[in-house]
């Protein structure tokens, strides 16, 4: 078992009333799964991903990740955990504008204090694998959306995570680019990386081997 959510509740107060962002979510994810979370805007997809990624807090419930109870962990411990095991891919890519492609991919390694020689080798592998060696000295603004997302995924993978969380990874891309990205995810999944993606698109969701439907923060039986 990679992770397990038990009766997670998350809410915000609005005018004295609770507005539920996540309402009694329970979920089990095994290693090697490829899960698609679907639902309309505001249904809680991103919130759920953020909670799984330990970026966001929740008010009630339990969350175990690799046999550690995340809800009892201290912030410092938690960040160590996600740094080690989780990679993020965003709809808006969130590359750092001032850094080149190479530097963007390299950054997570810097934060893990990996030695220079090893960093070089890892980044070179990654560039090679995604066929973007020729673009390594370009800045994000000089790339197309699909290429930027490729870099985003490369960056998420560089630290060899067990889990990739992708929030609408193809949302800003045209259909052809989107398809390429999804195929890449499929490949990665077949290599053993667990993937959870949030998406609007039925066809993208089909790439996964399990679909979870959300509406107003609750799981909907399909």
């Amino acid at each position: 078992m990679l992770l397990q959510l038990n009766h997670i509740y998350k809410w915000v107060k609005q005018g004295g009333k609770r507005v539920f962002l996540l309402n009694d979510i329970s979920l089990q994810v095994k290693e090697g799964e490829f899960i698609s979370i679907m639902g309309p805007s505001g249904s809680g997809k991103s919130t759920l991903l953020n909670v799984i990624g330990m970026l966001d807090e929740f008010q009630e419930g339990e969350y175990d990740f690799l046999d550690e109870s995340v809800h009892t962990l201290k912030e410092k411990h938690r960040s160590k955990l996600y740094k080690e095991y989780i990679g993020f891919v965003f709809q808006a890519y969130h590359l750092i504008d001032e850094l080149t492609v190479y530097e963007n991919i390299e950054t997570p390694l810097l934060y893990k204090n990996i030695k220079s020689a090893e960093r070089k080798a890892l980044v070179a592998d990654m560039l090679d694998r995604f066929n973007i060696v020729g673009k390594k000295d370009l800045f994000p603004a000089q790339l197309s959306g699909g290429q930027q997302q490729l870099v985003g995924i490369a960056r998420a993978l560089i630290a060899k995570p067990k889990l990739i969380l992708a929030d609408e990874p193809t949302g800003n891309l045209n259909s052809k680019q989107g398809e390429e990205i999804m195929r890449l995810f499929k490949e990665l999944n077949q290599e053993g990386v667990t993937i959870i993606q949030a998406t609007h698109s039925e066809s993208n969701a089909e790439y996964g081997n399990r679909i979870i439907n959300l509406l107003d923060g609750s799981k909907v039986k399909a």
Binding site: G53, L55, S79, K83, H94, T107, P108, Y111, A156
Partner: protein, 806 residues
């Protein structure tokens, strides 16, 4: 349109309350300080500017070519001024001026006052208006005296002083005078100050009658007013025959001793120093140098502080502009021209500047009194508020507003429409103008901090230096009473003889340091010794002088009672001994111009008998117990200082019931001599503290904006694994680099300035790198703390918040 602009301006200022507040705070403090420092500096620069004839008034001095180099002398002999008037063309008016402490007696009042002995031209040359009296200008004659309003009040209280008679004792001679005029009190910026004005010939015979035709006794200053159209250079040139005639022997002696003539081939040159420069003149290097460093330095500090505040404003405005890109784009699409946009943004700046100027003015006004007390200055707004200076302030304000407010406005108004609409323009990131300005800002701060360190170190050094005499245990006491000095000293000795608090009593005719009577003098003379002219400072002392002051003898003996020949014995210091070129100085005899032969009986170890910025000069000490001593020196037992001072005061009251007791310990006297250094140190310290605070305000604001702009990046980095420390370091690094660059620029500059300043002091500290490193570190740490206030908070924030906004 205008109303719309003003409305938008106010709303924008209101919306960014933090920035508006920081800007107002910084700018108004800077304005207030600049105004106060400006007031002080302009006051210091306005000395003697009130004389109507200032353009043609000069002090006469001369330079002599000596074997050691060129030397200046201000004092002139009694026959000098009349001869100059008669023999050199171009003199419209001339006056001799000798300022002396005298004792004024009226009824049972006995007052120490300062008297100016002057010639009849005096009051028509200098503008000291009469407020009571028959004439427009006071007359100067043998039997009358002109007194200031202040002195009149001291002597006669509320009674009318005009026509009354006072008795004046000068150098033991008493004379009666009728008050013929009351002069207005001097403006604070007058370098000439006195209570009474008497005819020059009324001095004691010793200072006037007996030396009427003696060209070698020089004891007063001479001022001239040149005829219209005559320049100082023309006049100086015209004095050559005069010098040839009256100083032939002196010049021949200089030539014989190996002095080099000046460029005109002369060994002595009469020179003129414009009177308005007299209070800034320094004669150390011969020809008078006008030194206004101190006031200009203060003015400079004021400008630097204003500059820092303006830099803050510019940086904040530019950094803030990214938030208004959409507004700019929108306005441009709606048809606003570059000019209109410029005026809109500039108008906002003007609003802030106006507010800051008003607040700053108010602050300066409120702080004027504490400022005057803190820096013990008489500077006031009234004293300097001339039309010119007010116009200057207003023009300066407008210029600052135009540059500091106009530059960001110009940048904003020139943006392209589409770029700004998209809000994509990264105007604020790689901003070299901002970086340069911040480097300058921190450079100034580092410069001021290291200046502060150096100043205090030097003051501390001077305070703790071993001066070669005992300054902790000895009290100096000005003999300012009616009795003769020898009599007072005898009485003091008799009354204090058996008291355990008092160890020794002696006297000398000069002070060490600066006493509570505030007067100082130097006596010098030259004589021929083995065919060369020898120059020396001279000091007249009573028995026990070296013993009372714990001075060390390197050879020979001190004066001894019972040795009749000691009345012609002298002590010399090591510098003097070196100058005599004798194998054994103790066997030296020299003959002074009164043809008496003096025998050197002892050599004193060099001690600092003058201000500490001068090196120890040659000194000859004469035993003259019955001389006009001026000061008693009393050595007290250790640990009984306070008792001893009280005892001394009581004893003094018994001996001289009507005279003030002005006794003070020598270490206080020494402290008093570097009052101006202390004042400067206080100003620079306050300036550097303010500079640091203002720089930090700017830095804080910039860090706020940078953090806001990089929020997304911070979020991304955190998500991919950056720790709080990583982020903080990343955000602070750029600023610290700037501080580093400022250090590299400011430290050598500071070193150079400090080095040059220290050259003014013969006794000075050695500059060490440590001072500058400490200053740099201080700036670095302060900058780091300031930035951390915001960056740590940003680094700890949950990244989801910043990423969600996309």
């Amino acid at each position: 349109m205008l109303r719309n602009y003003i409305k938008i301006a106010f709303r924008n200022l209101w919306k960014d309350k933090t920035f508006t507040l920081l800007n107002l705070l910084g700018l108004s403090t800077a304005f207030a300080v600049a105004v106060l420092l400006g007031m002080y500096a302009f006051f210091e620069l306005s000395y003697d500017g009130f004389h109507k004839n200032k353009a043609s008034l000069y002090q006469v001095y001369s330079t002599e070519q000596a074997p050691e180099g060129i030397e200046a002398s201000e004092p002139k002999s009694v026959p000098f001024a009349p001869a100059l008037r008669d023999e050199v063309p171009g003199v419209a008016k001339i006056t001799r001026y000798n300022n002396k402490g005298v004792l004024v007696i009226s009824g049972n009042k006995e007052l120490r006052m300062s008297a100016a002995y002057i010639d009849p031209d005096f009051f028509s040359m200098f503008s000291f208006p009469v407020i009571k009296g028959k004439e427009q200008q006071p007359t100067v004659d043998k039997s009358t005296v002109s007194i200031t309003e202040y002195a009149a009040n001291r002597i006669f209280g509320t009674e009318d002083a005009l026509g009354k008679t006072i008795s004046v004792i000068t150098e033991g001679v008493e004379q009666l005078f009728t008050v013929s005029a009351i002069i207005e009190d001097f403006p604070d910026q007058s370098s000439m100050k006195f209570d009474l004005a008497l005819d020059f010939s009324n001095q004691a015979p010793f200072s006037y009658a007996e030396i009427k035709d003696d060209w070698s006794k020089e004891n007063h200053e001479v001022y001239v007013q040149l005829e219209q159209g005559v320049t100082a250079a023309q006049f100086e040139k015209g004095t050559e025959p005069f010098t040839q005639l009256h100083y032939k022997d002196e010049m021949a002696a200089a030539k014989r001793d190996g002095a080099q003539p000046d460029t005109n081939g002369n060994f002595k040159q009469i020179r003129l120093l414009p009177f308005k420069d007299v209070s800034y003149a320094n004669f150390d290097s011969g020809i008078a140098r006008v030194e206004k460093t101190m006031p200009y330095l203060i003015l400079g500090v004021g400008f630097l502080i204003l500059f820092i505040a303006c830099v803050n404003f510019i940086n904040m405005s530019i950094a803030k502009s990214s938030q208004r890109l959409r507004e700019i784009g929108m306005r441009k699409t709606l048809g606003a021209g570059t000019g209109q946009l410029f005026f809109q943004f500039w108008g906002e700046s003007v609003l802030i500047f106006l507010g800051a100027a008003l607040l700053g003015g108010l602050l300066a006004f409120l702080l004027a009194e504490p400022f005057k007390t803190l820096f013990s200055t008489r500077a006031s707004f009234e004293a300097i508020f001339t039309f010119k200076i007010i116009t200057g302030f207003v023009l300066g304000f407008m210029l600052i507003t135009f540059i500091a407010g106009g530059y960001p406005a110009l940048l904003l108004s020139k943006l392209g429409t589409l770029q700004s609409l998209k809000g994509k323009l990264n105007l604020t990131r790689k901003n070299s103008v901002r970086d340069v300005l911040m480097v300058v800002q921190f450079g100034i701060a580092i410069l001021l901090i290291s200046g502060t360190f150096v100043l205090w170190q030097q003051i501390d050094f001077m305070r703790n230096k071993n001066l070669g005499f005992n300054k902790e245990q000895v009290i100096s006491l000005p003999l300012n009473g009616k009795r003769s000095d020898a009599q007072v000293i005898q009485l003091l000795r008799n009354k204090l003889q058996n008291r355990s608090e008092i160890l020794n009593v002696t006297a000398a005719n000069n002070i060490l340091g600066l006493g509570r009577d505030g007067s100082s003098m130097t006596s010098q003379m030259g004589f021929e010794h083995q065919g060369r002219v020898v120059e020396t400072h001279i000091l007249m002392v009573d028995y026990d002088y070296p013993e009372t002051l714990d001075m060390e003898l390197v050879a020979g003996r001190s004066f001894k009672r019972g040795y009749a020949s000691d009345s012609l014995a002298v002590l010399i210091n090591e510098k003097m001994a070196a100058q005599l070129h004798e194998e054994n100085p103790l066997e030296t005899r020299f003959i002074l111009d009164d043809s008496l032969a003096y025998q050197v009986v002892g050599v004193l170890k060099d001690y600092n008998f003058q201000k500490l910025n001068t090196a120890v000069a040659p000194l000859t000490v004469f035993l003259k117990p019955n001389w006009n001593m001026h000061y008693a020196y009393i050595k007290v037992a250790p640990n009984k200082a306070a008792n001893a001072l009280a005892l001394l005061e009581n004893t003094w009251k018994e001996i001289e019931p009507n005279a003030n007791f002005l006794g003070s310990f020598l270490d206080e006297n020494i402290d008093r001599t570097f009052k101006s250094e202390k004042k400067m140190a206080t100003m620079i310290t306050s300036g550097s503290i303010l500079a640091i605070i203002l720089s930090c305000i700017g830095l804080f604001a910039i860090s706020l904006l940078i953090v806001a702009q990089r929020q997304k990046e911070i979020g991304v980095r955190k998500v991919i694994g950056a720790s709080v420390l990583n982020i903080t370091v990343m955000l602070s690094k750029d600023f610290l680099k700037l501080v580093g660059i400022s250090f590299v620029i400011a430290a050598p500059l500071g070193w150079w300035l400090a080095y040059n300043w220290l050259q003014n002091y013969a006794n000075h500290i050695n500059l060490t790198l440590g001072v500058f490193i400490a200053a740099g570190l201080a700036a670095l740490i302060i900058a780091l703390v300031t930035i951390s206030l915001r960056t740590i908070k940003a680094a700890m924030q949950n990244p989801v918040k910043s990423l969600r906004t996309e």
